[in-house]
Structure formats: structure tokens, C-alpha cells
């Protein structure tokens, strides 16, 4: 019984390792691990890659991830930048396919607007409270005392 269990675990390991090796044996995409020759273009590509999310790994940018799909995305980004495409156009292209999920750059949208509106509202509220306490403070307090 125990031997069987050991065997099953060993086989699972072999299958898992074989799977990973098969994936790794493919050469990476041309620009997955190679920078663009033009440093200005590379800087643009790097800035964009740091704000694009790896779709396979949770909460990593494609610049940080070693997943093969992230490598393909880096290569795609670099080749498009080298072809003269605008970084924001590349981001828009990806968001058209994967939604907000793929981008780490904050965007004001139907669902995210409260995040941007709330601080403004809170500041305005705090300002109002301060104005009442300090500016009109003594008068207000007198008024309260009278009533």
C-alpha cells in the first residue's frame, strides 16, 4: 500500500517535471529576454511592460515574470515598439482583449470612478468642517450658545 503511494507520488513528479521541461525546451520568443538595440525604444518598452499584468501569474508584471506567456508578451511589446507603435496604443490593444485586468495603470472607468471621486469629496468635507470651526467658528459657537 505504502509502496503504491510512493510510486504514485514519484510518477506525478516525473509527469510534472516532464511537462515543465517540454515547455522550457522551446526557445524563447525573439525579444523575450533581449533588449531592443535603441535604448530610447527599450526604455519605452520597459516602462510599458512594468505596467502590464502577466495573465498566468497572479500579481506580477510581464517585466517581472518568467512564465513563457509573459515572455511572448514582452517580445510582442518590444517588436511593436520597434515598429514605431505608441505604448498607449499597445496597452489599448491588450485591454480590448483582456479588459482592465491586464493593465496596472489606474484608469477612471464606470467601476473605478468612486476611487477618484471619494478623496475629492472627503477633502471638500474636511474643508467645510474646518471652515465652519475656524472661519465662522466664534460666531457659530456664539449662535449655538444662544439657542
Amino acid at each position: 500500500m505504502r509502496l503504491l503511494r510512493v510510486l504514485i507520488v514519484a510518477m506525478a513528479c516525473v509527469i510534472a517535471v516532464a511537462g515543465v521541461q517540454a515547455q522550457e525546451s522551446m526557445p524563447p520568443a525573439p525579444y523575450a529576454y533581449r533588449q531592443l538595440d535603441d535604448p530610447e525604444q527599450e526604455a519605452k518598452a520597459q516602462a510599458l511592460m512594468e505596467t502590464l499584468r502577466c495573465l498566468k501569474c497572479q500579481s506580477q508584471s510581464i517585466a517581472d515574470s518568467d512564465a513563457s506567456m509573459a515572455g511572448d508578451m514582452r517580445s510582442d511589446v518590444r517588436m511593436r515598439i520597434a515598429a514605431g507603435e505608441d505604448p498607449e496604443a499597445i496597452r489599448a490593444w491588450l485591454m480590448e482583449r483582456y479588459g482592465d485586468y491586464v493593465s496596472y495603470k489606474p484608469e477612471v472607468s464606470e467601476t473605478t470612478w468612486p476611487l477618484f471621486a471619494l478623496p475629492v469629496l472627503l477633502l471638500a468635507f474636511a474643508g467645510l468642517v474646518l471652515w465652519r470651526r475656524m472661519g465662522r467658528g466664534p460666531a457659530a459657537r456664539e449662535g449655538k450658545g444662544e439657542s
Binding site: 517540454a22 515547455q23 525546451s25 522551446m26 520568443a29 506567456m69 510582442d76 482583449r97 483582456y98 479588459g99
Partner: protein, 175 residues
């Protein structure tokens, strides 16, 4: 002191309540494609296997709906869904596919072991189709109608219980 004093406390408790509630809900890790209802991106892939042709966008524009399976020989759930793809093929579905980052000998080995339900297999070594169609992993299966419009996405391996849904979506796409 007035009753407005209690407002921040109420807001804070509401926030804690919401956070607590969200913690109890299982995390949804699927990234759905936004390409449903849109045409397939333009692509033309070489064949990934010797006995099946490659795959291009124009292959989808002959009026016949198809299943587009995105898979790879190194993907373990792809082996698990192989019998279900065969079942779909036997029930009349035309299954075409894209093999992601795969070597011809690995593709041949996988097909020899798990069967070949595909009428066409394109080799996508740079994930071009995968990115273009909004797929975030393997395996995924899309229903494409006869005009090349993406109609439905199934994320993950196809279980026996998913087969009727996919057949139904194929029929819907034929209308």
C-alpha cells in the same frame, strides 16, 4: 456633539463588513476574453503536425461554425480534455486547433498518445493567436461562427458535463 458624529463609524463598519463578506467568497481567477462578438484576428499559422493542415483566419469564413481549441502538448489538463474533444468530434463538431509553443515531435507524441480530434492544427510559437483572441492560458476552447465571429469562450479543460453546452453554443452559432 450630534448624530453626524456617528457617520464615520457607520462608514467604517460598512467597509469592514464588505471586506469580511468578500473574503468569504471564492476568488475568481478566470480572465474572460472581451473578444466575444468580435471577428477573429487575422492570422495564418503553419501546420504543427504532418498529417493536418495549418490554420488561418480565412478557414473560418466558409459558413460553418467550429470549435477552436487552444492547447499544448506540455499542458496536463489538455490531456484530460482529449476524450471530451473526441466526443464532440463524434457528435459532429469540427474541431480545429492552435498548439502553443510546441515542437513538432512533442505534438506528434501527444496526438499518438491521446488521439487526434483536430481537422487542422496551427503552430503558434509566439502566442500570436492566443494574445489576439484574448486567451490567457491553455486549454481554452472558443466557438467561432461561419463568418469568423467569436461567439463563446470556455476556459479550462472541457469536462464531460461541458460537452452539451458546447454543442448547444455551436448550434446557436449556426443560426
Amino acid at each position: 456633539m450630534n448624530r453626524w458624529f456617528i457617520l464615520p463609524l457607520v462608514l467604517f463598519l460598512a467597509f469592514v463588513g464588505l471586506a469580511g463578506y468578500m473574503l468569504t467568497k471564492p476568488k475568481d481567477e478566470f480572465v474572460e476574453s472581451r473578444m466575444i462578438g468580435k471577428p477573429l484576428p487575422e492570422f495564418a499559422l503553419p501546420a504543427a503536425a504532418v498529417d493536418r493542415p495549418g490554420l488561418a483566419t480565412r478557414d473560418f469564413r466558409d459558413g460553418k461554425p467550429r470549435l477552436l481549441n487552444i492547447w499544448a502538448s506540455w499542458c496536463i489538463p489538455c490531456a484530460a480534455e482529449a476524450p471530451q474533444l473526441e466526443m464532440l468530434r463524434r457528435q459532429g463538431a469540427d474541431v480545429v486547433s492552435v498548439a502553443i509553443r510546441d515542437r513538432p515531435e512533442d505534438v506528434a507524441g501527444f496526438l499518438a498518445q491521446y488521439g487526434n480530434p483536430y481537422s487542422r492544427i496551427g503552430a503558434d510559437n509566439l502566442s500570436v493567436v492566443q494574445l489576439g483572441i484574448g486567451s490567457s492560458g491553455v486549454p481554452e476552447t472558443f466557438v467561432i461562427d461561419g463568418q469568423g465571429i467569436i461567439r463563446y469562450q470556455h476556459i479550462g479543460d472541457i469536462r464531460p458535463s461541458d460537452v452539451p453546452t458546447l454543442l448547444e453554443k455551436l448550434q446557436e452559432a449556426a443560426k
